[in-house]
């Protein structure tokens, strides 16, 4: 802590190595930041955050899933539920094998390491406390900060994400002055306005639509229309990631993919209208992942009839866009929550109107769902319909929206804010878990 009075409890200098951990429900993003750029990870390792069991009763923990070839009927145990670490028995096993066991690929000595851990906004206090207790009492990290994932994104060069034109000598603001950060992940989608890296807590909103719900919805559609995929979550999820997109003309696309009424031959349906795609399912012998192909009328039927065919083909039509549509119209499945654009407007509505232009011109979308084609375009179009004409609406996603929070957190770890916010093991032992939780909840406060 620079300047000011040093409390007598101030321990030694902060550790030179920081383990940066974005502990998502689907994947953990992890890497080390050290004082030396040459030993600092430039990108995180991405580890499945699950314990999985395949149909041959083989169990995989975390990164071991890479060794799995046959994902048919695979089932998962996930320590993170609704964005928070809930099951520590499972989480500890995954962390141990990743960081702490003798042969761990990212071996870490907690007693000489600071942990920077990203969490979801608006978590339950009991779960936050469990996390803090495990970090200090089980692992003994020497220093620790548990921060809200979206806020870490402010420690990146956000204007680069927008390709804002600027001169080479432009000073990059870190943390960024103003961002409206949308994080759309496995469990849900959150809207978080940020000023200078500070969360505007009263305006944070959550929509309970995430990657899991969309995959499950696709599973249901396919099971009604094609064949039972209810035990094939992994395969359906791959299909979703490969073939689904956000529609810019929902009504038009729906019309083009309708087979029509009885006896009617609709041209668009017959040809696929550029929307229909054939998805070749993995066969768990030679093809371990599915393949997307342009729709070839009759291919699926031929494959079914042919005795020698080795391919199972599903033709995807409105499933391609009606699944990500749930982000924008959750009521389509009876979920009584506003869609993403209205969610943004609700968030803005509790903020002074003077902040709107800055926030609307700096909307950044991160998380796995940001990878859907047209996601940011659709959000921009819908927001333009809702804001005053003179407002500039810019929506962008980082190059890799999945690791964006980690990259931001890694920059944060090098920033003086990390020293200001982190607590030491000694402080935890002196003041207790409640004190730590309060300090984290208080955040940076104001600079002035």
């Amino acid at each position: 802590m620079a300047g000011g009075r040093k409390p007598k409890s101030a321990g030694p200098a902060p550790p030179s190595s920081t383990l940066v951990l974005d502990n998502g429900a689907d994947t953990i993003k992890t890497g080390f930041v050290t004082g030396d750029d040459s030993t600092t990870d430039k990108a995180p390792r991405v580890i499945p955050n699950c314990i999985a069991r395949d149909r041959h009763s083989k169990t995989y923990v975390g990164s071991e899933l890479e060794k799995c070839k046959d994902f048919g009927e695979i089932v998962f145990r996930r320590p993170v539920e609704k964005g928070s670490i809930v099951n520590w028995e499972a989480q500890k096993e995954i962390w141990d094998r990743s960081f702490f066991d003798d042969k761990a690929p990212q071996k870490c000595d907690p007693s000489a390491t600071r942990l920077v851990l990203a969490e979801q906004p608006n978590s339950l206090p009991a779960l936050q406390t469990h996390c803090d207790q495990i970090v200090f009492e089980e692992y003994g990290f020497s220093s620790y900060y548990r921060g809200i994932g979206p806020s870490f994104n402010a420690y990146q060069d956000i204007q680069a994400v927008f390709h804002t034109p600027r001169t080479p000598d432009t000073i990059i603001d870190v943390p960024a002055e103003v961002i409206l950060l949308i994080d759309s992940g496995y469990s849900h989608t959150t809207v978080t306005p940020l000023l200078q890296g500070r969360l505007l807590h009263p305006a944070i909103r959550r929509l309970d639509v995430g990657g899991k719900l969309m995959t499950n919805h696709l599973t249901r559609l396919l099971s009604v229309r094609h064949f039972d995929m209810r035990n094939e979550t992994y395969i359906v999820n791959e299909m979703k990631e490969a073939a689904c997109y956000v529609s810019l003309d929902f009504k038009g696309d729906l019309d083009k993919t309708w087979k029509g009424t009885r006896g009617e031959r609709r041209e668009d349906y017959a040809t696929g209208a550029g929307i229909a795609k054939d998805y070749v399912l993995p066969d768990s012998h030679t093809r371990f992942h599915g393949i997307v192909r342009d729709h070839e009328p009759g291919a699926a039927a031929r494959a079914r009839k042919s005795a020698v065919s080795t391919e199972d083909i599903l033709t995807l039509r409105n499933e391609r866009f009606s699944v990500p549509e749930l982000l924008f119209n959750p009521t389509d499945i009876g979920l009584r929550q506003p869609g993403l654009a209205d969610l943004v407007m609700q968030s803005l509505s509790v903020l002074p109107v003077g902040l709107w232009p800055g926030l609307l011109a700096n909307i950044v979308v991160v998380g796995g769902n940001a990878k859907f084609d047209n996601f940011i375009q659709r959000l921009q179009v819908e927001l333009l319909e809702r804001v005053p004409d003179e407002c500039v609406v810019r929506v962008a996603r980082p190059e890799d929206p999945i690791i964006s929070t980690w990259l931001g957190a890694a920059n944060f770890a090098k920033h003086e804010h990390a020293d200001r916010l982190a607590v030491t093991k000694q402080e935890y032992e002196e003041h207790g878990a409640a004190w730590v939780a309060r300090k984290f909840a208080l955040g940076l406060g104001l600079d002035t």
């Binding site: 620079a2 409390p7 089932v75 998962f76 495990i134 209810r230 009885r262 004190w435 208080l442 406060g445």
Partner: protein, 356 residues
Amino acid sequence: MNNFGVIEVASTATKTTPGWAYVPDTGGHPSLPAALQPKNRKRAAARNQPGLSLSDLTARQENKLRKDLEALGRDNQREVNIPIPHKSSTSSRSQKHTPNVRKILQSQKTFANHLDDYQALLALAESNPAAVVNNPLLFMNKPLASSSASGTPAKSASPAAATPPPTNKRAAAAAKRAAAREREEERKRAKMVSLAPPPPTQPEQQTEQQTEQQTEQQTEQQTEQQGDAEMVDVPTTEGQQEEKEVPSYPPDGTVLPAYKKPPPVAHPGDGDPLLVSVVPGFPTDEELRALMTAPPLNYMEARATFGEEGERYPTRVFCEMCGYWGRVKCMKCGVRVCALDCLEGHREECVTRYGL
């Protein structure tokens, strides 16, 4: 023509197909001109039927919807129990856990269980504030009064107003469930603990004892943070820096620096006097301070709802079979389908489930 048990569904546009007239459901498309009205009398009459909204759903449909949504929230389609596999690699780490850690690792509570606990705690706080006055789990999210750097309550930030507190009935039910589970966990723990050696320390008690100190510590912490604060974006004068020990507020307009950069996107119309935009007044420092130091909302408060004004658009309804607009309703079960083709497909299932 086989039109058993079919009713047309009211909507705002028509489309005629040979042999049968369907009424497309265009709910949710505000861009669609309202001028597209049904043209013939029969359909105009159909329009007088109430549109299907969630409140019109039968109890059976409501129940199905709830179950469907629950299913969509699952990690696996069926219940699975995957035990932690035996470790092949060795760990040099000690296997001893602190009592806190042991308790956490043994807990089999789900997120829903924890949410119930939290809601029960909130309900208790509402009915008997004295009972929870020292419970850190309830108040750790809310900074102490002294922590609001501006010293003013966050007026523009009144989160509680956004979401009504849980109804007493629900909260009471949650409390009951939580209490029952707590007893269960307690019993399990008691079993475990009786087998294990007595815990060397009781950190929970420590925490209790420290509650008093916390207030002091917290204040100290806050003062210290203010004292440490480095002005990153705003150039400070020597005088201000010397005053570090005594927190003092800078003049207006320093929480956020003035916007000194070019506008984000240049537009050919920028110079046009007719297009000059009216920039809304920038919030005062007071407002910004309140916002930037406001406490977090809790999990329920942050969940987006439609609020009092309700849904903006009518709910869109789709064909249960193929996903096209659900313009036709099965009289037997209320399921919506797009046309006769899908209705026939649906009928098989409907008959098996509900009989003829």
